[in-house]
Amino acid sequence: MSFAALDLVPLLAAMLACLACGLLGNLLLLTRQSLLGDAVSHAVLPGIVLAFLVTGSRDAAPMLAGAVAAAFAAALLVGVLTRAARLSPQAAMGIVFSGFFAVGVVLLETGVGRRVDLDLDHVLLGQLDTLVWPAATGWASLLDPDALAALPPELLLIGAVAVAVPLLFAALWKELRLLAFDPDFAAVTGFAPRALSALLLAALAVACVAAFWAVGAILTLAALVVPPVVARLLTRSYRAQVLVSAIVALVMGAGGVLLAGVLPAALGQDWAVSGAGMVAVVGGVLVLAARLAARESG
């Protein structure tokens, strides 16, 4: 039972999810919205339940669409509340995600009914460690189309997102930097900050939901905030911030999966711990190390 069959996909999924969310996390960090990920993770429930009520089906596509719509709506509402009620972003997020989650629970209980086993964990929240690829016999399977066809769909989606997000950064490098630094100047010079912000929120919604579906909420929340914070502690320029956050994301993703299961097995142990949880813990260690390193350099 080869490495490719058991560990390759979780390893890739964790790294790709961390990369996609880590990059977007930079813009959240620089605009004081790091907690948006946490809000989104609570806010997706009504989207899923509505998707189930409308389509009556439990398969992934409608649920993911519902979740993305709910995430986008929640993020927009946080912005509106912050401006209209002059609330701090944190308070606005707290109100929006509590409200969305409560609507989701009420819909679940009254609309879906008690007899249907539709809870968030089974439908949306993926489990990193279950992303096995039994069709793989070894590294050669990476080239074998039949084996590739049997790859878990969760990996394909988060893989697509993990390609799209860096492309988005590359294409709109200076525009996103200007938006984060000085939206007013962006408006005056015609770089449409409102449209760009909406695009970013959409990208965040898709990235979060794809990551939830592949690796679960725990890893996604850590991926959104740890790489940017570590990069923030270690670098002084925007380019370095983005590059270091990407590296930290990959290290964190790989480190977590390897430490959680691959290493114990290599040492002949027959137990393993939660891969997603370990990715977050490795992230925590990286933050601690960066914080100590940053203190020395003054």
Partner: protein
């Protein structure tokens, strides 16, 4: 519905109502100060940060031969890790390079991850009685027992007493932290006291009403109160009132409506109260603003011609 409002809808409804009202009172009051301190979501981080403590306590209890499922023991563990997470967030943010919200987000996600790791260890152990361990964080208001209600009442009393005693120094701190520290106020001690109260509310609330309701009642009533008044004592009282009111109305509605989950309904009522305050408040409300703005618009256009 009416009988539920007057505590005649059966013992359980009365106990749940009393418990939730007391909790709403405590959460509203404490939440007001936490909101003004600009750390609204610290409660969400603290709530998530109890998970490793609960799982850790279960494992430790097992190793020490204690009863690993004793609630006080598990909550002690949860309280410990939640406090550590809050302190870690403060330490991370102290450098200045990492802002408060990012530090809270790191503390939240890393402790959530550590909790998942420890839970996976618990799950692998061939021991029974881990039923509902993670369910501890997803307490349900409707399942509240009389003992829980008394705990809530005690928490409310302690919270109101401490807030009452510290009202003047706390309001000085919240008004202008710099000025307060210059004036020799023990800013650090006050902060710790406030966070301690927040933790008390979180730890009492989690097993009884669940994570989302705890976070919601610590933020939403306070935000609504802030729309209606600027004076701190009035705001805290109003926030406590909104918290208790939302709980009372929420329980009544859930007692009357078939299948309506009590905790979620309380949250929806609290959000509705906020929405009403947002629309209707004379000072900062939208309706008043829109009306006046329309008048201004007309006048401005007339002047421009």
């Amino acid at each position: 519905m009416w009988e539920a409002l007057t505590f005649q809808a059966g013992h359980n409804a009365a106990v749940v109502a009393a418990g939730c009202i007391a909790f709403g009172l405590a959460a509203g009051a404490v939440g007001c100060f936490v909101l003004l301190r600009g750390r609204a979501l610290i409660a969400d981080a603290a709530a998530h940060a109890t998970l490793p403590g609960v799982a850790g306590a279960f494992l430790l209890g097992l190793a020490l031969g204690l009863d690993p499922r004793a609630l006080p023991w598990l909550l002690a563990g949860g309280g410990l890790t939640a406090s550590l997470a809050v302190l870690a967030a403060n330490a991370l943010a102290r450098g200045g390079r990492v802002k408060d919200d990012a530090a809270i987000a790191v503390a939240l996600s890393v402790s959530f991850g550590l909790g998942a790791v420890l839970l996976s260890v618990v799950q692998a152990l061939p021991v029974g009685g881990q039923a509902g361990l993670s369910g501890l964080l997803l307490g349900r208001a409707a399942g509240m027992a009389e003992a829980d209600a008394w705990t809530m009442a005690a928490v409310a009393l302690v919270a109101l007493a401490v807030l009452g005693a510290l009202l003047r120094p706390l309001s000085a701190l919240l008004f202008d932290p710099l000025q307060a520290s210059l004036a020799g106020l023990p800013v650090k001690a006050l902060d710790v006291a406030l966070l301690g109260l927040m933790l008390l509310v979180v730890l009492a609330g989690l097993p009884a009403v669940g994570l989302v309701l705890v976070v919601a009642l610590l933020i939403v009533p306070a935000a609504a109160a802030r729309l209606l008044t600027a004076r701190l004592p009035a705001m805290a009282a109003l926030s406590a009132g909104f918290g208790a009111g939302s709980a009372h109305l929420g329980v009544a509605i859930s007692a009357a409506a078939p299948g309506a989950p009590t905790g979620a309904v309380i949250v929806l009522v609290a959000v509705a109260v906020f929405a009403l305050a947002l629309l209707a408040s004379p000072r900062r409300g939208l309706v008043a603003a829109l009306r006046r703005r329309a008048a201004l618009l007309a006048a401005a256009r007339a002047a421009a011609r």
